[in-house]
Amino acid sequence: MTGEITGEMTGVSGPLLDVRGLTKRYGPRRACDGVGFTLHPGEVLAVVGESGSGKSTLLGLIAGEIAADAGTVSYRMRDGVTRELAALGAAERRALMRTDWGFVRQDATQGLRMAVSAGGNVGERLMGVGARHYGRIRAEALDWLARVEIDADRVDDPPTRFSGGMRQRLQIARNLVTAPRLVLMDEPTSGLDVSVQARLLDTIRGLVAELGLAVIIVTHDLAVARLLSHRVLVMRGGRVIETGLTDQVLDDPQAAYTQLLVASVLTA
C-alpha cells in the first residue's frame, strides 16, 4: 500500500483529484503498479524518478490517454461533484480536458499545432468552447503571450520558428487560456539550456501561485521538484516508494533508493 498524501495546506475541503490503485502492464512488465494519491486545489505535486520508473505512464493514465488495467481516477468537477473519469462520456471527458485541465508535454510538437500561428494555438481552446469574435480571441491570445513573456509581434509566427523555451511558454499559454484548475506537466524543462530552464521555471512558479493551479509535474530533475512542488512522490519500477512534503523527502529521504537519488544530485 502506498502512503496517501492528505494535504491540508489549501484549506479547501476535499481533494480535487483522487487517484487509486492505477495499474498498467505492458506484457509481463508493470509500468505502473497500484499507484494512488490525492491532490488538493492549488497543490503542486512532483512525481520524480529515473526514466523507465513509470512516471510518464502515470501521467498518461491520469489523463485517460492510456487505458488502465486497474484503478480509478476521480475528479471534483466545477459543479463540486466528484466523478470517476472512466465513467464520463467521451464528450464530457474531452470537454473537461480542453477546459478545466491542461497538459504541457515534454515534446512541444506533441502539444502544439506546429503549422498554426502562436495566436491560433492559444485561441484554439477559446474557439473550441464557442468564442466567435476574432478581435476578442486575438486580444486574449496577445494577453496570454505577454503573460508567458512572448513578444506580441510573434503572434502570427508558427511555433516552428520558436526556440525550445518559447515553445514551452506557448504550450503553457495555450493550456491556461481557459483557466483550468488542474495542469499536468511532463518534463516541461528537459532538453532546455540551464538559463532558459531557470526563466521558464520562474514563469511557471509565478503563474501557478497567481492562478492557484493544482499541478502534477513529472520530472527527473530534483531541483525542479524542489523549486515548484509542495509534495513529492518518488517512483521506481512502476511503484511509489516514498511520498511526503518536498523539503522532508529531499532533505531527509527515508527510502534507500530516494537517498541514492538525492545523493546523486548532490554529487553531480
Binding site: R25, Y26, G27, P28, A115, S117, D156, D157, P158, R161
Partner: protein, 370 residues
C-alpha cells in the same frame, strides 16, 4: 464575338477515334490476338486479374489489348466490368495445402516434406537480353517434368511450425464472416480480412515499396519466407439448394507465408507470428510484399508501437488502390476554372490591399507564415 472554347461531343468522339487508331498502331504489323496476350504476356495478365479482383484470363487479356498495355487502365476496365456481375455468394475457402504446386520454395528449411520445387522462375537467370527471342523460334523443350509432388506429401511449412507451437495459430477472426470492401465501405479500424483484400487488390508497386520500407527500418518485422507456393487449387461452392459443395474449376494462385519475429507477453509464450499474401496467377513479388505489409499492419494487435507508414492501416488502405489513386491524381486535369477564378479574385484583392498599405507608408503586411 467571343465563343467559349469548350469540349463538345464531336471533340470527344474524335479523340476516341484517334485513340483507337493509335491502339492499333501500324496496320502493316499483324494485329495482336487476345489469345497471344493471354499466352505470351501471362504475368501481365495475372497482374491485371489480381488487381482487378476477377479471375478471367481472356477478359484480362482483352482489357490489356484495349488499354494499349497500360496496366492500371486494364485493371480499370476489368473492375468496371466486375461491378456489373451478379454475385451468387462466396466460395468455400480454397485449400492451398492441397495445391497442385508448380513451384514451392522455403527459406526457413533446407528441405522439408515434398522438397523445394523451383518451377518456372526468373530467379537465377542472368538478366541478359536474349536477342534470339527477337527472331521467332520455339524454345528448347523443358526437361521431362517429373510429376509434381503429391499434394498430400507437401504440407505447408507454417503447418509444420504450427504443430510444434512455434508459430502462432491463425488469428482468431479466421472463420468469421469475411468482409468485402467492394460491397461495404471500409470502417476503420478494418479487420484483417478486409486489409488482406485491400492489399491483394492493391497496386503492386505501392505494396512492394511499403513492404520494402519495412525491411529498411520503417516498422521492422524480421521476416523469413516460410514458404512460397504457386500452382492451382480447386474452387468449390455450396449452392443453397444443394447444401453440399460442388467444384467450379481450378484457379492458379501464389501464396506467401512470412514467418516473423518473436512475440510474447505475460500470457503467451514467445512464438513466431504470421504475415500472409495470396494473389491470382504467378505473382510472387506481390504475394511477398503483401505478406510483409500484412504483418506490419498487425502491429497494434500484437502490442507493437505504431509509427511507420506500413503499420498505419488508414494510410495503407486509403492509398494502395491504383484506381483510386490514378483517378484522383488525374482528375486534376478536369477544368477547375470556377475555383481558380475564386482564388484569382482573392489574390488580386490581397495584392491591391498590400499595394494600398505600402502607398500609405504602413508597415508591410506580414508575409504568410508558410
Amino acid at each position: 464575338m467571343y465563343v467559349a472554347v469548350k469540349g463538345g461531343e464531336a471533340a470527344i468522339d474524335n479523340a476516341h477515334r484517334l485513340l483507337a487508331e493509335r491502339r492499333r498502331g501500324d496496320p502493316a504489323v499483324p494485329e495482336l490476338t487476345v489469345a497471344q496476350i493471354r499466352e505470351q504476356m501471362s504475368l501481365l495478365v495475372d497482374r491485371v486479374m489480381a488487381e482487378g479482383s476477377l479471375y478471367d484470363p481472356d477478359l484480362a487479356a482483352l482489357a490489356l489489348k484495349q488499354a494499349r498495355g497500360d496496366v492500371v487502365e486494364a485493371v480499370f476496365l476489368v473492375r468496371a466490368y466486375r461491378t456489373t456481375l451478379p454475385r451468387f455468394g462466396a466460395s468455400v475457402p480454397v485449400e492451398t495445402g492441397a495445391m497442385a504446386v508448380d513451384r514451392r520454395v522455403s527459406a526457413t528449411f533446407k528441405d522439408m516434406p515434398g522438397g523445394q520445387v523451383l518451377g518456372p522462375t526468373f530467379d537465377y537467370t542472368h538478366r541478359l537480353i536474349d536477342f534470339a527471342l527477337a527472331a521467332a523460334g520455339e524454345p528448347e523443350p523443358a526437361a521431362e517434368a517429373e510429376p509434381g509432388p503429391d499434394a498430400a506429401l507437401c504440407p505447408r511449412v507454417t503447418d509444420i511450425l504450427g504443430q510444434a507451437g512455434l508459430l502462432e495459430a491463425s488469428p482468431p477472426e479466421a472463420g468469421a464472416p469475411v468482409g468485402d470492401l467492394t460491397r461495404e465501405a471500409v470502417d476503420f479500424p478494418a479487420d484483417r480480412a478486409v486489409r488482406l483484400q485491400a492489399l491483394a487488390r492493391g497496386d503492386e508497386g505501392f505494396v512492394l515499396a511499403l513492404g520494402y520500407s519495412t525491411q529498411r527500418g520503417y516498422g521492422r518485422t524480421h521476416p523469413f519466407v516460410g514458404e512460397i507456393r504457386c500452382g492451382t487449387v480447386a474452387v468449390e461452392f455450396v449452392p443453397e439448394e444443394l447444401g453440399f459443395s460442388v467444384p467450379l474449376g481450378d484457379v492458379p494462385l501464389t501464396e506467401c507465408q512470412m514467418v516473423n519475429q518473436f512475440h510474447g507477453s505475460g500470457d503467451v509464450p514467445p512464438q513466431f507470428t504470421r504475415g500472409y499474401g495470396l494473389v491470382f496467377g504467378q505473382g510472387e513479388r506481390k504475394a511477398m510484399a503483401m505478406a510483409l505489409v500484412d504483418r506490419s499492419l498487425r502491429a497494434s494487435e500484437l502490442g507493437e508501437a505504431v509509427g511507420a507508414p506500413a503499420q498505419d492501416q488508414e494510410f495503407v488502405l486509403a492509398h494502395c488502390d491504383s484506381l483510386q489513386a490514378t483517378g484522383f491524381v488525374e482528375h486534376l486535369k478536369l477544368p477547375h476554372y470556377v475555383d481558380f477564378q475564386a482564388e484569382l479574385e482573392l489574390v488580386r484583392r490581397l495584392r491591391a490591399e498590400h499595394a494600398a498599405a505600402r502607398a500609405q507608408g504602413d508597415a508591410p503586411i506580414r508575409e504568410a507564415a508558410e
